[in-house]
Amino acid sequence: MNKFTGILSVLLALSFNTYASDDLAEGKRLYTETCVSCHGISGETNADMHLIVKPRRLKDSILSSNQMAKIISKGGHAYGAHSDIMPAFNYVYEKKQIENIAEYVSQTFNTKRDAKVKKLLSKSDAKKLDAKKMHKIGKKIFKRNCSLCHGLKGDGKSIYVEESKNNKEFLFPYDLRKTIMDEDQIFLIVKYGAHYWGADKEDMPSWKKKYDDTKLRSVAHFVKTKIVGTD
């Protein structure tokens, strides 16, 4: 009986951790057909593609395959990007096909993502504060720093955007109300900056030298609870 249970457990574990090879093969085919021209053959972006906004280095993405599938489906703009340079593919592909692409990216290029996120979160020395205190700290920093680019409402509209939009290299800040990320991911983006997580430039900088983890965690909490979903 014990042996039988053991085999069953192994089979169950395998079924949870593996993705059908046919589906992965289809993901690879569709990625090569569609995504490779911008994101490159190995998820490092295609250096020959001269776009105003350089595509993300998918190998460094903080997004899970589920989150990637949503962005592939509805496009970057639906989740806060200023432009629709990452277009929606739900008009082109079926839901399952899109999931296959996302899974292919996660399992082929972005293989270290889970371990990296886990390690960085475990390194955080943020103190546990009650929600009210986090809100107060987060709101103050958001107003002092984040709102200058993302706007007081987090909608990506600010004086900074107005003053800088003639700069050809300027990248427009995200509409945070639409972000797909959870609180941990927001914390890691704020702490390490967007470039670390696959953005071409350091327009969303790393704030780790300026604020400690407790404060950065409070900012992430404020954004997640008071900004996201308010559009």
Partner: protein
């Protein structure tokens, strides 16, 4: 006697006013140039912006507190050193920018 004291006071005020300097700090490449400055009370610091995007210099130091607000490309802003306490100036948008101001 009163007249002498008054004259001396005026002279002292004038000499401080005359010796007050204006220091120019350029913001270029997301850096304050120079990044260290030694000033006296009464001096003025002028912030230039040569970057193709806006900056927002400020300090949280209470004695010399200031916030120039959003400063577009090509515009100048000024702050006066009010207290003899040294302070740091940062940019509210670009967290790696730091200007260390020593007040003598």
């Amino acid at each position: 006697m009163k007249k002498i004291v008054t004259t001396l006071c005026i002279a002292a005020t004038l000499s401080v006013g005359l010796s007050a300097k204006n220091w120019v700090i350029n913001q270029k490449g997301k850096t304050f140039i120079p990044s260290k400055l030694t000033v006296h009370v009464g001096d003025t610091i002028t912030f230039e912006n040569s970057d193709p995007f806006a900056h927002n210099a400020y300090t949280d130091d209470e004695a010399n507190e200031f916030d120039v607000g959003m400063q577009p490309t090509g515009k100048e802003t000024h702050m006066k050193v009010k207290s003899k306490e040294s302070f740091n100036v940062e940019c509210a948008i670009h967290p790696n920018m730091l200007l260390e101001v020593t007040v003598q």
